[in-house]
Symmetry: C2
Subunit: 212 residues, 2 copies
Amino acid sequence: MAQQVASARKRVLDATEALKEEKFNARRLELAEAALETLGELGYARTSLREIAQNSEFTHGVFHYYFRDKTDLICCCVSHYKAKCVTRYDQVTASAQSREELMEGFLAKLAETLRKEARMHRLWYDLRAQALFEDAFRKDVIEIDKSLENMIWRIASRYAELGGKRPAVSAGVLYALFDGLFQNALLKFLSNDDDAVPELLEEVRRLLPTIC
Amino acid sequence: MAQQVASARKRVLDATEALKEEKFNARRLELAEAALETLGELGYARTSLREIAQNSEFTHGVFHYYFRDKTDLICCCVSHYKAKCVTRYDQVTASAQSREELMEGFLAKLAETLRKEARMHRLWYDLRAQALFEDAFRKDVIEIDKSLENMIWRIASRYAELGGKRPAVSAGVLYALFDGLFQNALLKFLSNDDDAVPELLEEVRRLLPTIC
DNA sequence: GACAATGCTTGACAATTGTCAAACATTTTT
DNA sequence: AAAAATGTTTGACAATTGTCAAGCATTGTC
């Protein structure tokens, strides 16, 4: 009997322990979310913890309660960012019944992404560049890169499938291409080039059928 | 006669003036060159003027004599960087007499670039990312991007020409593709992935003939 | 309701930053 | 060679940075 009580208490402790941790992680994500706002606005180089705190409902000390240091915070931001964008096109891929529908759905989402999430994407390119200098970011960045590659591949192979074909290039090549195109379009877009979005769409519309 | 003397003096003044300016610009480039070293090592975010000065034969004050501010220095670095890399493959393009020769020359140069100039290239990607946040860098970055696009295009169209063909895609698409591939390979290379270089070469070797 | 644990704020710290001005050195001009 | 212009060094400045510890508030536990 004593044993049962002991193990029951242990379970309770474990449960509360898990709850604590969950709460802790939830707050971490909240803080990371807030940090992403400022990072997207200013970029990695110009973002300080105090600036992050000021643009949030928290004070700068909290960040050191939840993160080992600044790098830890940024890493958490990067990881969190991943989850937000990796499934962006999956809805379109899943619901499209024809090549045309998939193409239009993809293009629409692409345009929306470029227009409304330009800040998050420039941050992504910024952080990916930082990974070229700092080991600490590399693991997460490479992982995201891979996820994005898979995302593009899912669209492309589905598009090919709807035409009874197979993509003519590898997932890596396809991702490199789209990544390059998007990066270029983003720079144009942020330079207030009104043609950035339509040009990207036109390029993709022409390109995708020749590859897949 | 008085007029002739006056105009002669004016010419002399102009000449010395030009000499001064030339000397001034030469020093500017020296300083920019030195700055590029540190920038390539640390990246934009972690590079201070003092750090640049310490890794050079100059003191930190000089930089403010030759540059309006830090941004001005970085811009000068970016511009200067451009000249150094935009003609990298032109020798190969000009001398190659066959598709095979051009391919092998290009691949060799590509491998050398990735291996020996990784630091400069990660800086390029870093600064291009900064241009997404700072207007000041945009003009130069867009110009370099265009120059690199042209560079790739010269190779590709020559390669196609040697096979009596024409490139199947636009210059923009081709650049996006190679830029994406190189960026990815660079990250792998800097992560001590020994396969980075051979994989990039293999990819390009397979890809180029299908496009051009 | 006392107590402890957790969460959060505040202020201080040492270090670093860009900038600038005054002093110094060197070169050029007269 | 004196004087002026140019180039360079040095040190100081105010602001900002990441970090941390002491204190305050809130929550949960017994």
